[in-house]
């Protein structure tokens, strides 16, 4: 289950994590950081857009349902600002329709909450591998 962290052996993967559930963002950040990636957490769509304006990320993990902005809207903006950045979507919605809609708008993949962290890490790596920054 637990992999040995690859501390600074390869260039660190930078990840933008967007979810309005603060508790969720906190614990997920900690766990991903522990797995050797750098995480910038945003608790709303607008915060995430501001973060993306400041710098580039290798990958983004985006919750589909947020208070201020719809995940799909945020995704569209992401795709305009950084078309090369893969986006993995998270959804608490049992319905996977909206997640599928996200893929239509250019998302890399989606996961339904709750999920196994390993699945998320694998998808992140797949996404970056596809993007050219192969890590494995």
């Amino acid at each position: 289950m637990a992999k040995t962290p690859q501390k600074r052996a390869t260039p660190q993967i930078s990840l933008l994590l967007v979810d309005d559930e603060v508790g969720f963002v906190e614990v997920l950040s900690k766990r991903i950081i522990r797995r050797g990636m750098s995480v910038t957490a945003a608790s709303s769509g607008s915060e995430a857009i501001q973060a993306l304006r400041r710098r580039d990320f290798d990958v983004a993990v985006l919750d589909l349902k947020m208070e201020d902005m719809d995940g799909i809207e945020v995704l569209k903006i992401f795709k305009k600002m950084a078309p090369a950045m893969p986006v993995i979507m998270l959804t608490g919605h049992g319905s996977e329709n909206s997640a599928r809609e996200g893929i239509k708008f250019g998302a890399f993949d989606y996961l339904t909450k709750p999920y196994e962290l390993e699945d998320l890490i694998r998808k992140i790596k797949e996404a970056i591998g596809q993007g050219g920054n192969c890590d494995e």
């Binding site: 969720f24 522990r34 049992g94 319905s95």
Partner: protein
């Protein structure tokens, strides 16, 4: 399609009665008004026409007879004025003239005779031995002596045969004589008789005293010799009525209603009476009346039958629509309920997923931290790991539950979509698993793999099968049993069988279980709508639902679902 039972409802009976009454009155009133008006008008004008016709007829006949008499008289006058006493008293001359007359007019002139003022016949030409006959006492002779010309009434005369006489008195060269001729009675009678109409029409001629001047053809059924009381009125006051034709309707001696038409002829000496039985004269009218009456009876009969049939159809249709509406209302309510339950479930599922995700993540984080050196040495490490694993497992379980809820409640509308029937059944089985467990029921599934997709409404299918599963569980509630769900392909249909080992359905109820509001459950427990809604849904889909049951052994519901051609090939 129409159930007669519906008309048992008093509401529909009243409705039907009202429709029948309206149709019948709207049809009858104009029919009766129009028919009676037309009949009245027709009868009036027809009567007038018949009377007018009879008048014309009698008038013409009067003219004919008058001119016949006038002609005969004219002939004799011509003879009397053309030749002198010397010629006429010569019997051979008379014979010659009679022959000429008979040649011109046929046997109308029977004989010719010349009579002197004393009444003695001087000369005679004819078939009878009448020379030297003495007429001084004869009525015609006395009348003829007083006037210039005279046509006698019919009398038997010296020969004892009915005849009448045309006589012309001439005074010339110091002589006065009367030239007389006997007119053949048969020829005259035939002329009068020639006016015959219908079955009972005939004419007679009476003299002023009411004595018959003609012999009507005898017919035993006809009152050929009318009683004096009948024509007495015509004979009264003849002077003022000579040119008038009078019509009267009276009963004849046989008590038959008869029309009498009378006209004077021979300057009021004779009366021509034409008579015809009323029924005969108006035979055509009576025939029309009979036909009209039959039509008047048949028409309303048709109207009544039509009104009843039409009202039955209308009321049945209304009853059917009402029933459909009622069912629809129930269905709408049911669907609405399901929809709101679905929305609620979706909301709950979503709200729960987020906290569960955090819990799972936190547990994961704890697991991460257990890898730290200092904790690794703790003697409770294994127990920590087990506890964290348990949290993760239970989180996963929460997710499964919410997903089932969501997938069931996702859509409660009739949107048609591609459906994998086994998936739907699997989902429903999972959803019912808990209830089955409590009811001590084991659920078995036999699904044929790779079934073609169905193009139907998911929520409706879910509703149907959930209903069937719930019914089966209800049937086995008391003592448990086994529920078998089977799917297979038969030709172009997917057949799903839901079989339970419950109490079964009595045969008497089997025919009624799909009827709305039919339930054997106690009041408040069942609406009696479940199966009828199932039936409605499956019927709408073009499939069918059947039931087999044995009391004490169990029940099988078989649902046939149509596979559209394109999918069957896929």
């Amino acid at each position: 399609m129409f159930k007669k039972i519906r008309l048992v409802n008093p509401h529909y009976r009243v409705l039907m009665r009202n429709i029948v009454v309206i149709i019948i009155s709207v049809s009858f009133i104009p029919l009766i008004l129009v028919s009676s008006t037309i009949y009245y008008q027709f009868r009036t004008s027809y009567r007038e026409k018949v009377y007018a016709h009879l008048r014309d007829l009698v008038q013409n006949h009067t003219h004919n007879i008058d001119s016949f008499l006038g002609e005969k008289l004219g002939d004799i006058r011509f003879l009397a004025e053309s030749f002198g006493y010397d010629h006429l008293s010569n019997e051979s001359f008379l014979q010659e003239k009679l022959a000429v007359l008979q040649k011109d007019y046929g046997p109308v002139f029977v004989d010719l005779g010349v009579v002197n003022p004393d009444g003695k016949q001087i000369a005679y030409a004819g078939p009878f031995k009448l020379d030297k006959a003495h007429y001084s006492d004869a009525e015609w002779f006395q009348q003829a002596m007083q006037r210039q010309y005279f046509i006698s009434d019919v009398f038997l005369g010296l020969r004892g045969l009915p005849h009448f006489i045309v006589a012309v008195k001439t005074s010339r060269d110091g002589h006065t004589w009367i030239l007389r001729s006997t007119i053949d009675f048969v020829a005259f009678n035939t002329l009068v008789e020639s006016i015959r109409l219908g079955e009972t029409g005939f004419a007679i001629i009476l003299n002023k005293e009411g004595k018959l001047q003609t012999t009507p053809m005898s017919k035993p059924s006809l009152d050929t010799i009318p009683a004096k009381s009948i024509y007495a009125e015509f004979l009264e006051n003849p002077a003022g009525a000579v040119d008038k034709i009078r019509v009267a309707v009276k009963s004849d001696s046989f008590d038959q209603k008869t029309i009498f038409v009378a006209s004077f002829l021979k300057n009021g000496d004779w009366l021509l009476v034409y008579q015809q039985q009323f029924a005969d004269a108006f035979a055509d009218l009576n025939k029309t009346f009979t036909i009209t009456t039959i039509m008047m009876l048949l028409g309303p009969l048709c109207i009544v039958i039509m009104a009843i049939t039409l009202s039955k159809i209308i009321v049945n249709r209304i009853a059917q629509i009402d029933e459909e509406k009622q069912l629809m209302n129930v269905k709408v309510v049911e669907t609405g309920k399901l929809a709101s339950v679905g929305e609620l479930a979706a909301g709950v599922a979503h709200e729960i997923n987020n906290p569960v995700a955090i819990m799972v993540e936190e547990a994961g984080w704890m697991g991460d931290l257990l890898e730290e050196e200092e904790i690794k040495n703790s003697k409770n490490l294994a127990e920590f790991r087990r506890a964290i694993g348990q949290i993760k497992d239970q989180g996963r379980r929460c997710k499964e539950i919410t997903q089932k809820l969501l997938s069931f409640a996702r859509k409660t509308d009739g949107t048609v979509q591609d459906i994998e029937i086994n998936e739907v059944l699997e989902e429903l089985v999972a959803l019912s698993a808990q209830r089955a467990k409590y009811a001590l029921v084991t659920i078995q599934t036999h699904f044929e793999q790779n079934l073609p997709h169905l193009k139907l409404s998911l929520s409706e299918l879910q509703q149907v099968f959930l209903n069937l599963i719930n019914n089966s569980l209800d049937a086995m509630e008391t003592k448990g049993g086994s529920l078998t769900i089977e799917s297979r392909l038969e030709k172009d249909r997917i057949v799903v069988e839901v079989t339970d080992t419950g109490m079964g359905i009595p045969e008497a109820n089997l025919n009624r279980i799909f009827d709305p509001f039919f339930t054997t459950k106690s009041v408040g427990k069942g609406t009696g709508l479940g199966l009828s809604i199932c039936y409605g849904i499956i019927d709408k889909m073009g499939g069918k639902i059947e039931v087999r049951s044995t009391v004490g052994q169990g029940t099988t519901f078989t649902v046939h679902l149509p596979v559209t051609a394109e999918d069957a090939g896929a």
